[in-house]
């Protein structure tokens, strides 16, 4: 049954890819879908790309090991979705429309009138996206291996071929439509597991008293003695509430919506659907209680907690649906990253920096976008077979890399007229270097800051951005001129 549902799901995805293929005209339709999407599609795209393989498989594992404190990631990320919409959605949609910008580096070049800012942002996005993609491939391979019952290599190849087809053929149109379908599957799956599991463990109060008996720290918001202490709690706040605005694969969805006024619906739908899918992390708590009671086998690894729990306690139709949901979570994040990486190569590095902004014929634009996307998939796939340490580090640090190098220049820059070009260059460069550097230092056990490395890098980047802006001469920016955005002008 699991196999049947898995295959049906993959076939539907392929059909969406075929259907979208005919709708591609140029770079604008390939990367932005021609800005024709309504609020449901955009909202589901935002929530499904935020909910990655890590969110669906990794967090239940962390919750199993650490109790409620790890669930803080989901709670803060829900708030992060709201904050990102509040600060970025409207100005981004308007500015990108008015000046014909396609990417975040495009927007940054317009804001600061600087190719250097564009270049640094494009490199940070490319580095983080390639790193993150590795983690998605690994999760995809593991999941398909379980569902299809073939070995890891073959499973990964099947997954990547399907991904390649619908992303290269259908571009953003198929990505957004598959996101929609994937999010629906994720919502249904999460609700079934949340409610079914809650009955299984005897309700909320029973669950918590059992957890508290295992370890009193498990029912706290942070550990008093364990690994997820108060500093982790504060780091989560910075990384997931504030850092969400810097996630290029998520916030780029903001400017694909049909009309600014529709953003109001997108915001509430995105925040609430993400929160619903986040309920799947309760499976980690259920599994922990059942394992301690001796009713469930001990999972071999944290990543196996959610799949094992679901397989053991739910009928095979539900298990199939949930496995499809997990594949969905992984694929929707993957496709967004692939498109964002390909975009920074074609648009930001090739067209704008190497070709100095020269317009390409539509057909050539589309062909180039497709080939580069294909190239990015092949390259990331080859690297994933035997990833060097640096790629793994980039992947683990990627949310922090995006937060540190993009949030100050994007969010503060878009609402604060006084921000200057020099400050943007220094801040995004410092953010990138610090987030990667500090992460490597902590992996090598040379230096580990109390807060998470991404949160520290973000603070360095934000503080330097504000201070350098204040000591350099004020500048005018095109984006604040009359007729752009009333709120920021």
């Amino acid at each position: 049954m699991t196999l049947t549902i898995g295959i049906i799901y993959l076939l539907v995805i392929l059909v969406i890819g075929l259907w979208s293929m005919k709708r591609q005209k140029d770079m604008n339709t390939f990367y932005l879908g021609g800005r024709r999407f309504g609020p449901w599609l955009i909202a589901f795209a935002v929530s499904s790309t935020t909910m990655s393989g890590f969110g669906f498989i990794g967090i239940p594992g962390l919750v199993y090991e650490n109790g409620y404190p790890s669930m803080m990631i989901i709670i803060f990320a829900t708030a992060g979705i709201f904050v990102s919409f509040l600060i970025l959605a409207k100005p981004m949609r308007k500015i990108t429309q008015k000046f014909g910008a396609l990417t975040i580096p495009d927007l940054l070049e317009l804001r600061y009138n600087s190719k250097a800012v564009r270049g640094i942002a494009a490199i940070a996005i490319l580095g983080g996206a390639i790193g993150y993609q590795m983690a998605q491939y690994k999760a995809l391979g593991n999941m398909l291996q379980t569902v299809l019952g073939v070995d890891y290599q073959l499973a990964l190849i099947i997954g990547v071929v399907i991904l390649t087809f619908y992303v290269v053929a259908g571009g953003m149109i198929s990505a957004i439509w598959t996101d929609f379908l994937q999010m629906l599957v994720m919502i249904i799956g999460s609700l079934i597991v949340f409610i079914g599991g809650m009955n299984l463990v005897g309700g909320m109060s029973q669950l918590n008293s059992d957890l508290s008996a295992i370890n009193p720290d498990f029912v706290q918001a942070y550990h008093t003695t364990g690994p997820i202490g108060i500093f982790a709690f504060i780091s989560y706040f910075f990384i997931y509430v504030i850092g969400h605005q810097g996630q290029p694969h998520v916030v780029s969805k903001f400017y694909m919506i049909r009309k600014v006024s529709l953003l109001k619906w997108a915001c509430i739908i995105a925040a609430s659907t993400y929160a619903i899918t986040g309920l799947l992390s309760f499976s980690g708590l259920y599994a922990r209680v059942l394992v301690e009671q001796g009713e469930m086998a001990v999972p071999q690894s944290a990543d196996m907690v959610a799949p094992m729990f679901i397989e053991a306690y739910f009928p095979s139709v539900v298990a199939g649906l949930i496995f499809a949901a997990v594949m969905a979570a992984i694929m929707s994040t993957s496709e967004a990253f692939l498109l964002i990486a390909s975009q920074s190569v074609v648009r930001d590095i090739y067209q704008q920096i190497i070709k100095k902004g020269e317009e390409l014929p539509q057909k050539k634009e589309l062909r180039l976008s497709r080939w580069v996307t294909f190239g990015v998939i092949v390259l990331t796939f080859l690297i994933s077979l035997n990833p060097p340490d640096l790629v793994g580090w980039l992947g683990n640090a990627s949310w922090g890399i995006f937060a540190a190098s993009l949030v100050p220049v994007l969010s503060i820059g878009i609402i604060w007229k006084r921000a200057t070009r020099i400050a943007a260059i220094c801040s995004s460069f410092l953010g990138f270097i610090c987030s990667v550097g500090l992460y490597i230092l902590s992996v090598k056990d040379i230096y580990t800051p109390a807060l998470d490395t991404g949160a520290v890098a973000f603070m360095i980047s934000a503080v330097s951005f504000v201070i350098i802006s204040l000591v350099t001469k004020p500048e005018n920016s095109l984006v604040f001129e009359e007729g752009t955005d009333k709120r920021t002008a």
């Binding site: 800005r35 409620y68 669930m71 803080m72 709670i75 829900t78 708030a79 979705i81 709201f82 919409f85 509040l86 409207k90 308007k94 429309q97 909320m204 109060s205 918590n208 008293s209 508290s212 029912v219 706290q220 918001a221 942070y222 049909r258 009309k259 600014v260 006024s261 953003l263 109001k264 619906w265 997108a266 915001c267 509430i268 995105a270 925040a271 609430s272 929160a275 955005d485 009333k486």
Partner: protein, 40 residues
């Protein structure tokens, strides 16, 4: 409540729903005056 620490209860039953509620309220009250800017 439910045997959770008070901060965790707050995060789970107040902060989390509030984030969604804030999104709803902001959504309803923002962008009322769209006018010219909203044209394609």
């Amino acid at each position: 409540m439910f045997g959770l620490s008070s901060l965790m209860t707050f995060m789970l039953f107040v902060f989390w729903p509030m984030a969604i509620l804030a999104a709803a309220l902001w959504g309803i009250f923002a962008f009322q005056d769209v006018g010219e800017d909203d044209k394609q």
